[in-house]
Symmetry: C2
Subunit: 556 residues, 2 copies
């Protein structure tokens, strides 16, 4: 009878209840200002941020497997949505809102489709440095975008040039009161984080919201600085805004990016949460859960959502043991929507801007760049390029450029393989690079190790390198290609090997193969090359050595 219930609910333990309730309340207090603020980042009415929060809190627990994952509005996702939507419609228009809903629906549907088709691996092609650069640059853009509300200005933009232009153009509208409220909120939030114990610090944003509302109401500032304005009371209603089909085509590619990036974020949060509990994350299951959350957000008037890192960590730290915590947060959001709408109307936008700055600021970091530089220069280049392009061109072009650069660098490297002449470590059966180790060699025999899979991208270069090495040493009679690092072989590489064998035979040089791996051997066999190399094809380099050694070898 309870088989359709999620596992965590069927096996719910009484001991979890306390932690789940506390975490549920704490996340509600955090989510109310975040939801309102991230709706503003997209350019939507603040209340839509609460609409977007409710369904995912309820739905994730039905499908997802992470105990403390908190799916909902996120700064980066909102910035990405803003970049897409501001190209397609005027911010604030009914069409803009409809497009936001459809962006959530489409990316949700794509996430479900990717999950069903088990295509989650696509997200692997977003490399860690590219994602880190994307996050850092986006966070910087989000912080800069808060300059306008903090200064009491209007306008904004999706990339650095537009943001700066908005601030410069609107300079006359500078509002000292808004700046004062914003600066005080910033001081309070930063101070609370530094000075208060963590439990109280988590309530700091909601206290700032309450104080802001009280101040505006008591001092009658509602006309003197920008506030949230009228908020419709009541829960979000199920609705599907109409969308002309031709707009759908324009949303497809942005929705796909949105889906991939939200998935990568959500998955990394789930993995971080699973680690201390020794749990495994099923990527395709997470895909499915995130997709359903986005569909839910869209069907109730919300916008794209994802698993938020900081909110999920707060959830876990406050004691969440199961998605019941999120269901309790959903109850909290519902209460706010039912009873606090009128109060929220007086909330100054500068307060929300300050909460965004404090929430997002820690993401502007360059640790990944240092790490990438140490490991792989190409990764560092991809980081810098992604960072700069996200700032200058916006989030979409930036991340596409980053992915292309990292993939291109990887392909480029594979097209210039490392090749090493190896010799025998004296008295052993081991063979190593002659330039790195003290080794012995056989006269007339070159042992060449190819450190790359062979394919169309490097077949010509490998062939030319082999011919160069032979030209340098005309006394050679035998070339042994050591294939221990050749993991795959394509049709172009097969043709190249045949050509090389013919060409070497004309020069009186024997071509032999050693340490051919299973999958590569299969390709060679299908192409008829194993017959051609019969008697010149050795299981190990050592066998080849003993075969071609001029005199009996007593070292073994």
């Amino acid at each position: 009878m309870t088989a359709w219930l999620p596992g965590w609910l069927r096996h719910y333990r009484r001991a979890w209840l306390h932690g789940d309730v506390v975490a549920g309340v704490v996340v509600t207090l955090l989510l109310v200002p975040q939801g309102l603020a991230y709706a503003l980042v997209i350019g939507l009415p603040p209340v839509t941020g609460l609409y977007a929060s409710l369904p995912p809190l309820l739905l994730y627990g039905l499908i997802g497997r992470s105990h403390a994952q908190s799916v909902g509005p996120m700064a980066l996702t909102s910035l990405l949505a803003a970049a897409t939507l501001s190209r397609l419609a005027a911010p604030g228009s009914a069409e803009y809102l409809a497009l936001a809903v459809w962006l959530a629906l489409l990316s949700g549907a794509m996430l479900v489709a990717l999950g069903v088709a088990r295509l989650g691996f696509l997200a692997d092609f977003l490399s860690a440095p590219v994602l880190a650069a994307f996050t850092a640059a986006s966070a910087l853009l989000i912080v800069l975008a808060q300059l306008a509300p903090l200064l009491g200005l209007h306008g904004g933009g999706a990339a650095l040039p537009a943001l700066l232009a908005a601030v410069l153009d609107g300079w006359q509208g500078f509002n000292p009161l808004a700046l004062g409220v914003g600066a005080l909120t910033l001081l309070w939030l930063v101070g609370a984080r530094r000075l208060l114990p963590p439990t109280l610090a988590r309530a700091a944003p909601v206290l700032a919201v309450l104080l802001g509302i009280v101040a505006v109401r008591e001092a009658g500032w509602a006309t003197r600085l920008p506030v949230v304005g009228a908020v419709p009371a009541g829960l979000p209603a199920f609705a599907l805004p109409r969308l002309p089909w031709e707009r759908l085509a324009e949303l497809m590619l942005p929705a796909f990016f949105m889906a991939l990036i939200n998935y990568v974020q959500s998955l990394s949060v789930a993995q971080l949460l699973a680690e201390p509990r020794h749990e495994r994350v099923e990527p395709d299951r997470e895909l499915l859960a995130l997709g359903v959350c986005n569909l839910g957000a869209g069907l109730f008037g919300g916008f794209p959502v994802t698993g938020g890192l900081s909110r999920s960590l707060v959830n876990a730290a406050a004691g969440a043991h199961s998605p019941l915590a999120s269901w309790i947060s959903a109850g909290g959001i519902a209460l706010v929507l039912l009873f606090a709408g009128a109060a929220l109307a007086s909330l100054p936008l500068a307060v929300l801007a300050a909460t965004i700055v404090v929430a997002v600021y820690p993401s502007i970091g360059f640790g990944a760049l240092r790490q990438a530089w140490r490991a792989d220069r190409a990764d560092a280049v991809a980081f810098v390029l992604t960072f700069v392009l996200v700032l200058l061109l916006g989030v979409e072009s930036g991340i596409v450029a980053g992915v292309l650069v990292s993939l291109g660098a990887w392909l480029w490297r594979s097209s210039r393989p490392h090749m090493a002449e190896v010799g025998r470590l004296p008295g052993t059966q081991h063979y190593r690079n002659v330039t790195r180790f003290a080794t012995e060699t056989l006269p007339g025999v070159l042992f060449l190790r190819v450190d790359e899979s062979l394919y169309f991208g490097n077949a010509r270069l490998v062939r030319d390198t082999v011919l160069d090495r032979l030209a340098e040493r005309p006394q050679l009679t035998t070339l042994v290609l050591i294939m221990s690092a050749v993991n795959r072989l394509d049709a172009s590489a097969v043709t190249m090997l045949q050509w090389l064998d013919d060409s070497l035979a004309l020069r009186g040089v024997t071509l032999a193969l050693a340490e051919v791996k299973g999958p590569v051997g299969t390709v060679l066999a299908r192409a008829g090359l194993l017959e051609r190399f019969a008697g010149r094809h050795f299981l190990s380099t050592d066998q080849a050595w003993r075969h071609y050694a001029p005199a009996p070898d007593f070292h073994i």
Copy 2:
């Protein structure tokens, strides 16, 4: 004094002269109908084909190194040019001709730039199956495009749907006389190739041209079937047609593709010619030479050119020892331009169409598909996809799709690496896949060989696979990762290894590394991982085996 002369001219041998003269004359006889015909393939006045032939014949010998390379108009290049130009201007218009000239100039300049920047390796990313499919489908398109002139119809198109539509739409204009002339020419050319000795067969096209001219003149058919029409007499003049700058932008990408494809063709011809002479081809030098040839063709009113396989083979077979043969051909073309213009005016287009069909038909082949299928299924898929898309969408979209599919397949494979548990071949120091060989293993120790370089595309999957293997065997205490096939490591993979080490330590499992290659070791050292793995990092699998073997091992 002669230092500025090309090497072949400074060291010219008397003995080469006879072969060079014969080859020069033979290539002239072949090039006149080809030049006229390939101009028609683009949709240009036939005489431009002779203009495009002259400068490359002279220029290649000054820079290029291949003794028998014949650079000039080529069917495939002309089809590619037609596809680009027909999108940008009306065939036959002055703008169309100007764009053709600029396509040659731009792709020539790009070839020179690629040569100077030593970027010739870019062409390696056109895999052999993609190029073969592209050639086969293009040849089929070219043959089908000759249906219109063979039937005496007008019109054409750059892909299958447009070609079929042109034939169906123009059916009323069917001209039995043109069909008769074309059919007779086809019979003559095929018969000559089969029945005459090779020397005479090479003159068959030019005889067909002469017979066609004589027949049209004697029978007064000039008004009854399409002919070449007025040909301006005289050599091509140096001229640079004006081109509005905004068209330049539209030509950039097509010119780049044109440059890459012409380079690949030309390079493969040069390599084929160099093989029997044991010569090496310098790719960047060939890039430069081909670029200058295209610049020359463009500056004298011609269109894009490349090294033609069949013509170069004829040149070599007829005895060409040096580019002097091409210079003699250039003289022949100049004579035709000076004295035979009036005669060419009467040449029936059906005769040219027949020579195109016979020249191009052998390129429609599926040998490469068979070969690709045997070696690598992904290559076969790339072949079929390229072939179909070239036919349906045209040459440009087809080749771009083919390149993307082949690169994507390669990346996809690298994202799902083969991983093998290995054991020791009894009595040796050799370790092989336990499922392919009879091996012995150590209790509690898993030796896992990763058959791929580690990078962002596969880091997650490798980590998950390792955790899966450990979950299957809870009694394991040690995991040895054998890195002999890991050729490169990026920042994401470094992070993954750190994470895996931490995670395994929590489970009480020791992670060890064996057979780390030099370049990978450098990355590990820079990231501080060599210190972390101190004492768990072995030169060979055998050392790791002996280290973790529970009892002394006497097999060595």
